[in-house]
Symmetry: C2
Subunit: 405 residues, 2 copies
């Protein structure tokens, strides 16, 4: 047994990400779909959307990102004592995605790895991270590292029952309501930790779960509205005090004027504290449970390590259903190595742009063959990034085979 010295600064030491190589341009998609110009690009705040073809499934993307992670950061599979996957993408009715990932550990002989899958819509990765940190902070810790995988294949329904049923308007209010209560709980925790009169000013960066980036703009405004309710006569609210002084959390969920006013009032703070974390979200689309961690990866990729030192980064994680948390941590030590290993901007630029028609064909194929037995995928392996695990066949017992490109 490794004798485990109690660790200091339990947190995130390294990050790797996966996204599909193919994307469809959102303004092209607006034309193709015959919707008003700006509906996706301005209305939703999305520029590009990456998507998976039939070579990719939740197992292949998790295999790829774990293998790349271990290789890039030169971590031995024997060093991992906990592996937990947050996902809402169901590929097998019983087996965890974590179990599939254990095939990567076979050669090392390390079969003693705690953790399985954890699920509540887009919240799974956050719960997995909490569990990993708590494991490391408990007597159960054996001195080894924990690896947290947050992954999903995000697809919205187009008239079939395969995908989660989404009630759009309810879903948006649910997100905002969960944000309100998570923020109030978070402020209490800051207070308990000795922060005086906690508010948005207490955090340097605020990273949100992003179904689409416009929702994050609204959420940021909502945080300011929460601060306003706690301290309405502060000078920064002078212009809008009279208009909204009677409002409460519950009265305001459908108040579009209020929403707009707080978005406007929060614009410059939004740019400083949140905008850089939306790089991946704008360019990839919704990533479900991975979304908030892509936000963190975007932030680390956009702000120099020196500038991040000692800064408090807060994350808002939200999963429909619902479960939500705001939590924060401080940056201690150089993160430029993570930024250079992520190489996010270059990798985003190295993708293949496909036309909306091609996109639709690939999605139809996925939809009609999803969950098929005895299936051989037809997607071109050349259209995957090098080093990508991809599906080669599904047999009559639904057993999937993968190869490394």
């Amino acid at each position: 047994m490794t004798v485990a010295t109690h660790p200091q600064n339990i947190g995130i030491q390294a990050i790797e990400v996966y996204f599909p190589k193919k994307f469809v341009d959102q303004s092209e998609l607006e034309k193709h779909d015959g919707v008003s110009s700006g509906k996706y690009t301005i209305g939703l705040g999305q520029e590009k959307m990456s998507f998976c073809d039939d070579r990719e499934d939740i197992v292949s993307i998790c295999l790829t990102v774990v293998q790349q992670f271990m290789q890039k950061y030169n971590v031995d599979y024997k060093q991992i004592g906990r592996l937990e996957v947050g996902t809402e993408t169901i590929i097998d009715k019983s087996k965890s995605t974590k179990s599939f990932l254990m095939s990567l550990f076979a050669e090392s002989g390390n079969h003693s790895v705690e953790g399985i899958d954890t699920t509540n819509a887009c919240y799974g990765g956050t719960s997995a991270l909490f569990n990993a940190c708590q494991w490391m902070d408990s007597k159960a810790w054996d001195g080894r590292l924990a690896l947290v995988v947050a992954g999903d294949i995000a697809v919205y329904a187009s008239g079939n029952a395969q995908f989660p049923t989404v009630d759009g308007p309810l879903s948006v209010i649910s997100y905002i309501r969960a944000l309100d209560y998570a923020y109030l709980d978070y402020l209490k925790k800051l207070e308990n930790a000795g922060v005086e009169s906690p508010s948005l000013d207490s955090v340097d960066y605020l990273v949100f779960h992003s179904p689409y980036t416009k929702q994050v703009v609204k959420a940021f405004g909502r945080i300011l509205f929460n601060d306003f309710l706690r301290n309405p006569t502060a000078p920064q609210y002078a212009e809008i005090y009279t208009q909204f002084s009677e409002e409460t959390l519950e009265s305001s969920y459908n108040n579009k004027l209020l929403e707009k006013a707080f978005i406007n009032l929060s614009k410059s703070v939004f740019t400083a504290k949140t905008n850089t974390s939306l790089l991946a979200a704008r360019n990839i689309g919704n990533m479900y449970t991975g979304s908030v961690f892509f936000g963190l990866a975007s932030l680390i990729s956009s702000v120099p390590s020196s500038e991040l030192q000692g800064k408090r980064i807060a994350l808002f994680s939200y999963g429909s259903g619902c479960a939500a948390s705001i939590y924060s941590f401080k940056v201690v030590g150089d993160v430029s190595d993570i930024a250079s290993k992520l190489d996010l901007v270059a990798r985003l630029n190295d993708r293949i742009c496909v036309t909306p028609s091609q996109f639709e064909n690939i999605m139809s194929l996925r939809e009609s063959t999803h969950n098929n037995a005895e299936y051989s995928p037809t997607g071109s392996v050349d259209e995957l990034f090098p080093g990508t695990y991809h599906l080669t066949s599904i047999d009559s017992m639904y057993r999937r085979k993968y190869e490394l490109s």
Copy 2:
């Protein structure tokens, strides 16, 4: 904030169980199915099998058991700081069962409850228990209690794709192989904790995940075979030493003679250390992730609290896919209150015996209506135990409504 004093003896303080009120007798089922007499009762070691009708789903059974737990042990919903559900029963493609359970907390105003669902076949509950203990043992703990729910509706396929695909023979060997490695890891941990020459003698009770009780008899024999491999010349193995001295773990998975010999050799120890934990398994059938905890509940219900004091109870949890652990704890303090609140024997005797034909009709109805939208269940509410949450309707958006009987 509650100032949390670091807790001693983190563990299980209280247990409640749920099982359906209807059962089918296994010898009756043998006749009805036209199989040889003893196939289910002796071959699988099963006496009775409880089963759910269309009033029961994973949400209704978890709502019931949580509500009964809180009431019996007089726990306030405000006292709970963590709630985690281990299950492999999918009712919603995104939302966790934990989220459904939060409706019970609404009245108390406690919405700050960490934890979601955790999944790997029958292993989920064990992971949930580990997570809860580690939470309590970490700085994240806020002084409140953790509640772990392990629940499933166990149904085997009868020629349709609704249920997990099971490769029987592979599954049995996989269970035994996982047991071997979990046991070896466990012995190492005992050694690290200062136990000299650890073996089956080091534990007082050994509780197994039970797909059917005959599998547990075999598993117990296998544990003795592991001990034999570590110390083959010990006097207790004198009779069989010559016959099996060349065997290894890998060579022996299909050796029926060896299996039989170690079952015979372990008979009296099995009776002392494991048999009492099979009370529920024999009378209810497979309970998937709840199985091993029903084993613990059976043990507490069968052995007087005074006799259990200071005893080491080991649990073997296994989930296909696979994930497995052996872990143990010691009994500290009186558990007679748990036994009397469980009232297991009386509750098992209070069930309704239905004929194999009625059983088949109810299963067919479940199968044909499972996952239906706009469905109103038809099962008789009188055939549920009092205080059972049951499904009253599913609307066109798949939203389920429940009532308390």
